[in-house]
């Protein structure tokens, strides 16, 4: 296996709020391979964004990376991001690691032209004249398929539609050839047809620029389309981690299973009720003891209430080694399920 681009080990990020400590990310480990895409899925509030922001170190004050390491492998050098001085980190941002956000409507500064916002990023990391930076901005706009880029570069964000703004965001993120692009729900706020445009664009640009992408979404379809590896999070924890095809064919964690099963699928019989995951997502201030999923888990047992499982390879023959799961009873559940399928 080649050297990964980013390796996160046991990351803990907490928010020290008045009501208590919000453990937004607990003991998360993952790797982002070079030139590949890692998908991050999970319920709202499970810590996806915080994980991403921890990588780029943009956690704002009450929040803090408490422990863990984030290693960034740059041209053979290993850079530890958690301890990197702020000035150094700033150099990383934009040039090595870029990020785009969910809300294209509010993520661009309304009082500056689109071109200048891109050019600003370019000038920050490259010693170029403002003319050259501008040209680069126009070129990037062109690359993200904005028609009439030359003219539109000097327009303000409010002149752009949502999809176009998201493309501008992508242009800005990619303007300095980053090694890693973090896309935090890049298409959730967009319409289906526009989402298709943006996803297509991202894929094309990935082949062109060869960067790695960390894509965050809660749409399994997007994951299926974009990701090479998938990491499923639930309540600040990684609950399952596998290559995409593997995960879609063999979901092991009861939460992942539930997620797949609760989607209405084309062709599913209509008169049948959807399968649901009962209950609600726990508040990060009051996580249940033991396995955090146990109150909603159909297979929960006494042990689940007391003992927190570890992320491990399940002891199942057909599962490849890259598939890990965070469940005491992954094997048993698999057996039960198979039995159920057979019995139907």
């Amino acid at each position: 296996m080649t050297e990964p681009l980013v390796e996160i080990k046991n990351l803990r990020t907490h928010f020290f709020t008045d009501e208590g400590v919000v453990k937004a990310v607990e003991d998360v480990s993952l790797t982002i391979p070079r030139g590949k895409t890692l998908g991050l899925v999970g319920e709202s509030g499970c810590g996806k964004s915080v994980t991403a922001l921890s990588i780029i170190r943009l956690i704002s004050p009450p929040g803090k990376i408490v422990s863990g390491s984030i290693a960034f492998y740059d041209d053979g050098r290993k850079i530890e991001l958690t301890t990197l001085p702020e000035a150094e980190m700033r150099k990383m941002r934009g040039s090595r690691i870029a990020m785009i956000f969910q809300e294209p409507m509010t993520s661009l500064n309304p009082v500056f032209t689109v071109g200048s916002q891109i050019a600003e990023a370019v000038r920050l990391h490259h010693r170029v004249s403002s003319r050259e930076a501008w040209d680069r901005a126009v070129e990037m706009l062109h690359k993200v398929r904005i028609p009439d880029a030359q003219r539109r570069a000097s327009e303000y964000p409010h002149h752009f539609s949502g999809g176009m703004r998201q493309r501008v965001m992508i242009a800005m993120a990619l303007s300095c050839n980053p090694k890693l692009l973090i896309a935090d729900e890049p298409s959730t706020a967009l319409d289906v047809t526009i989402q298709a445009q943006v996803l297509d664009l991202l894929r094309d640009l990935q082949t062109e620029f060869g960067m790695s992408i960390l894509i965050i979404t809660h749409d399994l379809g997007v994951i299926a389309e974009m990701a090479d590896d998938v990491c499923v999070m639930y309540a600040s924890k990684v609950v399952e981690y596998a290559p995409v095809v593997e995960l879609f064919t063999n979901p092991l964690h009861p939460y992942t299973r539930g997620l797949f099963a609760s989607r209405p699928e084309p062709g599913k019989p209509k008169d049948q009720k959807l399968r649901t995951i009962p209950g609600v997502v726990p508040s990060p201030l009051r996580f249940p003891s033991g396995c955090k999923f146990h109150p909603r888990c159909a297979y929960a047992q006494e042990r689940c209430k007391k003992e927190e499982p570890v992320l491990r390879r399940p002891n199942l023959s057909q599962i490849p080694p890259s598939h890990v799961v965070h469940c005491h009873f992954a094997e048993q559940i698999e057996e039960q399920e198979e039995a159920a399928v057979k019995s139907v």
Partner: protein, 326 residues
């Protein structure tokens, strides 16, 4: 834009008409009569007769109902004549013209000062959010904000003019003003203006820096600030360039809205500092029922207020590309 301006002006004129009419009615309904007042200003030395009173009232046009007098006033104003003051033997425009500069000297300077000081302070407090210095500084500003300006002015006077004798207590010029060189005159004016400007400024300063801090606090939470930081921009630049440009929008609109408030604040402060500006004039004219002067000043205040609002909107369009009046 032009069309917009014209439309705004039309509305403004209508508002002006309404305001002046209301005020005209109001001051005419105020008991107290300039004619009587004039007659009684002299001590009992001179006898007064009913004819005299009547004649005096006629001379001031008080024998007509107020709406007719208002129409007459309006007609005069439309021909550019603000009428002649009852008390001052001079046209209203020249009485006001003579003093407006002095008031503006205080208010404009304090406005500039407020902004000049409030902006760095506000930025500083945003940057140092919830540290000790920010908290104590904010508290201090808050206390200043709650200190009535007339109390503040008294304390300033007592301390700097009476105890320390560093600065002149009141007035606008020294006795020897005429003999001074241009530089000396400026210096003299400066010394006289320092205390009143300070008294004018501190409240506004506190208000604006708190205002800026509040809007900045809101702005820095916006998504685009996160975007800017994700680009690798340093915190100072993010604050002063990206966040400030956006906070400027509400701040700028405040300029237009506070301009008239500064003038009405002048009434008390000018009295304390014996500053011969329009605040003093206004108060005096009300007491003397000098209707033409009151109306002239009201007209001016209202025009300023309306212009201020217009200015606020225009500035808004200027600093915020999202707004355009087409």
């Amino acid at each position: 834009m032009l069309q917009y301006l014209v439309r705004r002006m039309l509305w403004g004129l209508l508002t002006l008409l309404l305001i002046t009419f209301v005020i005209y009615g109001l001051i005419r309904f105020m008991p107290g009569d300039p004619a009587l007042l004039k007659l009684y200003q002299e001590s009992s030395d001179k006898k007064i007769t009913a004819e005299q009173i009547e004649q005096q009232r006629k001379m001031y046009g008080l024998d007509q109902p107020f709406y007719i007098a208002y129409v007459k006033w309006l007609g005069d104003v439309l021909t550019g004549n603000l009428q002649t003051s009852f008390a001052y033997k001079a046209p209203v425009s020249s009485v006001i013209g003579e003093r407006i500069g002095r008031t503006l000297m205080l208010t404009i300077n304090s406005l500039i000062l407020e902004y000049l000081l409030a902006i760095p302070l506000g930025l500083y407090f945003t940057a140092r959010s919830s540290r000790l210095d920010e908290r104590s500084g904010s508290m201090l500003l808050f206390m200043l904000y709650s200190l009535p300006s007339f109390c503040g002015a008294l304390f300033l006077q007592l301390w700097f003019a009476v105890y320390l004798e560093w600065l002149p207590l009141h007035g606008m010029q020294s006795d020897n003003y005429e003999q001074l060189s241009t530089l000396g005159k400026t210096w003299d004016l400066f010394k006289h203006a320092l205390l009143p400007v300070a008294a004018f400024t501190y409240g506004g300063l506190a208000y604006y820096s708190r205002f800026l801090k509040a809007t900045m606090n809101e702005t820095v939470r916006q998504d685009y600030i996160r975007t800017a930081r994700a680009k690798g921009i340093g915190p100072l630049k993010v604050l002063c360039w990206h966040a400030f440009r956006n906070s400027l929008i509400p701040l700028v609109t405040q300029i237009g809205l506070t301009l008239p408030a500064l003038l009405s604040g002048a009434i008390i402060l000018e009295r304390i500092f014996s500053w011969p500006g329009i605040g003093t004039l206004f108060f005096q004219s009300i007491l003397e029922r000098d209707y033409p002067i009151i109306m002239g000043l009201v007209l001016m205040f209202s025009i300023l207020t309306l212009l201020g609002q217009l200015l606020a909107d225009v500035l808004y369009a200027f600093v915020d590309p999202r707004v355009s009046y087409k």
